[in-house]
């Protein structure tokens, strides 16, 4: 079931070093404020912090009490307060209110603000404006890479997506460059670099500059990772917007995996308590099913249960010595496995309950129709009904965006009516959401010129292949936005299905979407790696509107071992989904590569939509 790696697959570098580094740095910062102190932690930093240093480590370094940064007055009585926050203006105001309250009360305490991963000037300025710049000391905790799994590094910056792709804020790019710099100092230079997207290019150039500034350090080292591929999320919104059907993705969509762990509610644990479970390669059961299409998971789990039972059953007929052996060596592992198994079975049941309903089947059907581009009218009315029935604001929005992107924008009539319906269903404040979505290019109206594409497809059927290519060129130069349909055709994203797609034995990466669609982002990566450049992909790059932002940078490969050349670091700027990770893991197994993922945050369709939504304050 679970596919073993090819025997020649390269070993992954050990990323636990990153954790140690972050921990040591944090301890150093805490020690800068000697004596007992209370630590205020921003909610978003709590889970990542937990993965780096647990409470007992904090206590060892004289952290007395822990508080959450929230909009409430703090009750701390300590003489020293330490704040661990993201560089946000909101936080600065919170700290300022606290310090100013102390000042009013005539109290003097020591305050230290630790920004993670870096501080922004605007923050210091707010402190200054609030008149407390001299009262607090500022530091940076350059903790930007959290290894969530053996092959997954996350920057845990979900706000990157909104800040960059919506607000046009480029400050985080520097953080990305710093993170890359850290990786290259630890794991050697990357001989081959590829990238696509405006942000990718900026981050890459910045990082290169960092390297040049400190050259010499990495130069002589043997590269451990042979390739690096940077990719902007806006190159491929489609994949991120699809419903996920691979187990890990489904768990994320259903229960929300947060910082590599998930809270299973009572309905899963079949007790009255919730349970926090770490999901990574250490969980043997999970590791075997995470990349599987959901339809296989149940069968696998029941098989596993039977095996487990058989192992338990072995103890019958054992003599005392064997029994002793069994209890001391195997029983614990079996029990552990047993516990995990029952958890995942519980999770599966819960997912089944939600997803195997009629609705879900229809939803998937509509999605596939949208991806393939047939029955557009039917899909549109499905979306309308979805909105009318108030099924879910986020889901409705997602479908609208998917329709818009695959169709090059909605036709004006639909654009109006869907939006009207949406506002009636979910409230008028979403007018702002629509304005955001339009700005980000997720939900747009077809410009009159875009109807040409319809004409184009008709015309191109009538002429020879060569001429058709020319016509496509001509048309696409008229169209403003990216043309998903044309890309799909070029890259063969919709596999031809002869008969049933066997999800048990996947043929290509399309299995992560039930065989209906190969993720665009992964296909691009596959193609570029195959060619070792963007050569021959000019057309696609142009259709993606990335002509100026696709780059390759190869250095001499004499030092790179063949093993390292099969290690590929993929950097997703703006987040990646578990489906993409699964797809690339599959690709790696097929080709003997290993992929390492670096993402600003693990995302999914709901998170993308929420980032764009305006909610009432």
């Amino acid at each position: 079931m679970a596919f073993p790696h090819r025997p020649d697959a390269p070993e992954l570098p050990d990323f636990s070093m990153l954790k140690r580094l972050a921990r040591d740095q944090l301890i150093y910062l805490l020690e800068q404020l000697p004596g007992k102190k209370d630590l205020f932690i921003e909610a978003d930093l709590m889970s990542p912090l937990d993965r780096i240093a647990n409470v007992s480590i904090l206590k060892q370094h004289e952290v007395d009490k822990l508080y959450k940064v929230e909009n409430k007055p703090a009750l701390s009585s300590s003489e020293q307060l330490c704040f661990l926050v993201r560089p946000r203006i909101k936080n600065m105001r919170y700290i300022a209110s606290l310090v100013n309250a102390d000042k009013l009360a005539g109290r003097t305490r020591k305050y230290k603000v630790i920004f993670s991963p870096q501080k922004f000037y605007a923050c210091e300025m707010v402190l200054e404006e609030e008149g407390i710049y001299g009262d607090v000391s500022c530091d940076e905790w350059a903790f930007s890479l959290l290894p969530l799994d053996v092959d997954l590094l996350s920057m845990e910056l979900p706000e990157f997506f909104r800040d960059y792709f919506l607000e046009g804020d480029q400050r985080w790019i520097n953080t990305v460059a710093q993170a890359l710099h850290l990786l290259s100092t630890l794991y050697g230079p990357f001989p081959n670099c590829y990238g696509i997207g405006r942000c990718a290019k900026m981050a890459y150039e910045l990082w290169r500059n960092l390297e040049e500034e400190e050259d010499g350090e990495t130069k002589g080292r043997r590269p451990e990772i042979g390739h690096i591929f940077l990719l902007d999320r806006d190159v491929d919104f489609v994949t991120a917007l699809c419903s996920q059907v691979v187990y890990e993705g489904l768990v994320d969509d259903t229960f929300r995996i947060k910082c590599g762990s998930v809270d299973f509610g009572p309905e899963v644990t079949s007790s009255d308590k919730s349970l926090k479970v770490l999901l990574n390669a250490d969980d043997k059961v999970f590791n075997e099913i995470r990349n599987e299409h959901f339809s296989n998971v149940f069968g696998f789990l029941s098989q596993k249960a039977r095996n487990l039972q058989a192992q338990y059953d072995r103890r019958r007929g054992m003599d005392i010595k064997q029994m002793k052996n069994f209890v001391s060596q195997e029983l614990k592992g079996l029990k552990q496995e047993h516990r995990l198994l029952s958890l995942h079975i519980g999770a599966c049941e819960s997912i089944m309950k939600k997803k195997t309903k009629q609705d879900f089947q229809e939803l998937i059907k509509t999605e596939h129709a949208l991806l393939e581009g047939f029955n557009i009218r039917e899909s549109t009315s499905y979306i309308e009904e979805h909105i009318d029935r108030q099924v879910s604001p986020i889901e409705s929005l997602r479908l609208m965006c998917l329709l818009s992107i695959t169709e090059n924008g909605l036709i004006p009539k639909d654009y109006r009516s869907l939006k009207t319906q949406y506002l009636q269903s979910y409230g008028p404040e979403h007018l702002l959401t629509f304005s955001n979505l339009r700005r980000a290019g997720l939900l747009t109206e077809q410009a009159p010129g875009d109807t040409l594409t319809a004409v184009e497809s008709k015309v191109s059927k009538l002429v020879t292949d060569k001429a058709a290519g020319k016509i496509t060129d001509a048309f696409s130069s008229l169209a403003k936005r990216s043309n998903f349909r044309a890309i799909s055709k070029k890259l063969n994203l919709i596999p031809r299905v002869d008969g049933e797609y066997d999800l048990k034995v996947p043929r290509d990466m399309a299995y992560v979407f039930s065989g209906a669609y190969v993720p665009l982002s992964c296909r691009i990566i596959e193609q570029v790696l195959e060619r070792r450049s963007w050569q021959g992909l000019d057309e696609v790059v142009r259709l993606l509107n990335c002509s100026d932002f696709a780059f390759t940078d190869m250095t001499k490969e004499d030092k790179a071992s063949s093993e390292s050349l099969r290690l590929i670091l993929v950097v997703f700027l703006g987040g990646c989904t578990f489906s993409e990770i699964s797809a690339l893991r599959f690709l790696g197994r097929e080709k003997g590569y290993r992929f390492i993922f670096l993402t600003t945050a693990v995302t999914n369709s709901a998170r993308l939509m929420e980032a764009m939504s305006e909610v009432k304050a």
Binding site: I89, K90, Y121, A122, M125, V126, E129, D163, E167, G168, D169, Q170, R171, N174, A177, M202, E205, L206, W207, N209, L210, E212, E213, Q358, E384, E385, D388, R389, Q390, R416, K419, T420, Q421, L423, Q424, S425, Y426, G427, P428, E429, L431, L432, S435, E614, K616, A617
Partner: protein, 834 residues
Amino acid sequence: MDCYTANWNPLGDSAFYRKYELYSMDWDLKEELRDCLVAAAPYGGPIALLRNPWRKEKAASVRPVLDIYSASGMPLASLLWKSGPVVSLGWSAEEELLCVQEDGAVLVYGLHGDFRRHFSMGNEVLQNRVLDARIFHTEFGSGVAILTGAHRFTLSANVGDLKLRRMPEVPGLQSAPSCWTVLCQDRVAHILLAVGPDLYLLDHAACSAVTPPGLAPGVSSFLQMAVSFTYRHLALFTDTGYIWMGTASLKEKLCEFNCNIRAPPKQMVCWCVYAAHSKERAVVVAWERRLMVVGDAPESIQFVLDEDSYLVPELDGVRIFSRSTHEFLHEVPAASEEIFKIASMAPGALLLEAQKEYEKESQKADEYLREIQELGQLTQAVQQCIEAAGHEHQPDMQKSLLRAASFGKCFLDRFPPDSFVHMCQDLRVLNAVRDYHIGIPLTYSQYKQLTIQVLLDRLVLRRLYPLAIQICEYLRLPEVQGVSRILAHWACYKVQQKDVSDEDVARAINQKLGDTPGVSYSDIAARAYGCGRTELAIKVWVCWSMSHAQGSRPLRAGTLIWVRARLGVFTVLLHLKNELNRGDFFMTLRNQPMALSLYRQFCKHQELETLKDLYNQDDNHQELGSFHIRASYAAEERIEGRVAALQTAADAFYKAKNEFAAKATEDQMRLLRLQRRLEDELGGQFLDLSLHDTVTTLILGGHNKRAEQLARDFRIPDKRLWWLKLTALADLEDWEELEKFSKSKKSPIGYLPFVEICMKQHNKYEAKKYASRVGPEQKVKALLLVGDVAQAADVAIEHRNEAELSLVLSHCTGATDGATADKIQRARAQAQKK
């Protein structure tokens, strides 16, 4: 060598004094020095001359002229003096010229004659006039002391941080003191004055009479007094021609001398040689044609002055300049003395000799060397040569001493090279700045006291940027302290050149500074702004930030600067924001997408109102509309306020030609008003519900009529209304009403949803009613939903639809449906046969 000590003059047994020429002045002075007010800054600083200071006539030709020269007599500035009569001139530690006027105003000029600022020494002076003034230097900066017509003293210890201190009255003082000076002890400035035979010490609290110990009798008046550079020593000249020398605290006498000249000296300078090992304290007294060096010796050294001269006290000597020459008089430093003294057998002297012989290829070199080595004094010899080189003015002599040192070093195993290397470097710097064109005649000791940083500042002040940069590069100073700092100064100077166009200045700055780390663009922009060149300020950072942000040029200088630059942009932004008026500021922003997005983000959190203004300025009606919509949710509490905000938003959307948004906003206004009315009339919570939810709430509350009215008013499409009613009625479990509703007309959404919703409420009975009405395509689904598998199978067989058959089959469970399953299998087989 023989004549090298020719200009050495012995004073007493152990000390020699020498005077050598620094420059021959070519400043073409027309007047005699005595006709001018003269001020020369210490540390080889500039010289200021005010000609015709005392003329009262108003004629332009004889108006006073203020000239500023470098120490070598190069003109730096010249300006007509148009203000009031000047009493005294002096240089501050920052090389700013302080001109004390008779009315107590002090005008401050820069090195290049640029007016900086002015301040006043108090109102009291306005009536009484200033009789005399002194500019003095302390460790805090430069101070001014004045003596008013009412014989009162006022002083300010630091002109940078002006605090006037009026000194207490001297009892019984009727006429001006015969001489006075400022003493600085324990960080407090005092005034020492002489009235007749008495000396008084004024501090800020009291006036006390003091007597110098061991003063010769018969003194009826003090004619001159002089304090040393460090305020440690004091010299008094009496009317009997007697000179008393002692500590400035007046507690100890060091020596005395009687010169038997009763004429009051023109100038007197007291110095204590700064080096710790110095033996001598000396006083230089100048009369019209005579210069006398007096020390702890029965004889004095006398020079004849050919011309009218002026003395400038320095740390380690005294500079003497006249119309034609500029000389330096100092005690010969110990190292030089050891080496050059006639018949000296000091190790340094021998080493110098050895090296000379070596150059002549004479074996005597070896003898000399051996002699030194036998005494084990080679290290000392080398050190002596190095040190002496530092004190020599002539590069030739420096070279030969250094050559000797270098020669000696060869015979030493472990001689740390630092001192030699540093001396070479220092001398190169010193020779460079001593150059005629630069004109800063610093001695080695002065240079060490001044530090390289200050020297660089002074070069910058003289606008000698290239030399300063060369020095930085030569000494390999860190960029932030060195090159960058100078470039920044240069840029600040550049932006003040009003005759160059903004474009050119901005480009020049960008070209030079483009890649230099640590240059604060915000400072430059701020300076440009300070000179009223707003446009230029903007251009400076626009040009530069564009070249970085757009990547038109590779970011060679690296990320740190890039980041810092961004911060810089931000600083300038905020600076300009505070300084410029809004309109100009926003116009500026417009062309800067990066800055604009940063600023928007900032405003969103910190200054919402500004954000609105920003959109307004840009005519960005779309965003303005969004802004008001957000405001209507976040900021406004009252319903009227919210409606008003929405109205503004709608207007903005119309302007933005976004009809859709405008209409939607207007609908929302209507809905809000209506919800308010509903709340008033029906009670309950309606505000902030969506239209859909409002109608649902009405139905759930049993207000069907109202609900329908609302649906009509807002043109809710039929489909939505049906879904809505269906869900609401099912939630109420009002099956009767539901049935009535289902029969009101043909359902636009079909009847399957009715079946589904009934089953959701577990009402099989009701569900079955609707199942019969479901259209043929969905009939099977409906029948399966209500659990009528057998009938579903019949329908499916009737339809001969494979998909439906398998669907039914999948629902056949257990024994109960066994028959049905068989039936389907048979039907299938039949269909296949056909």
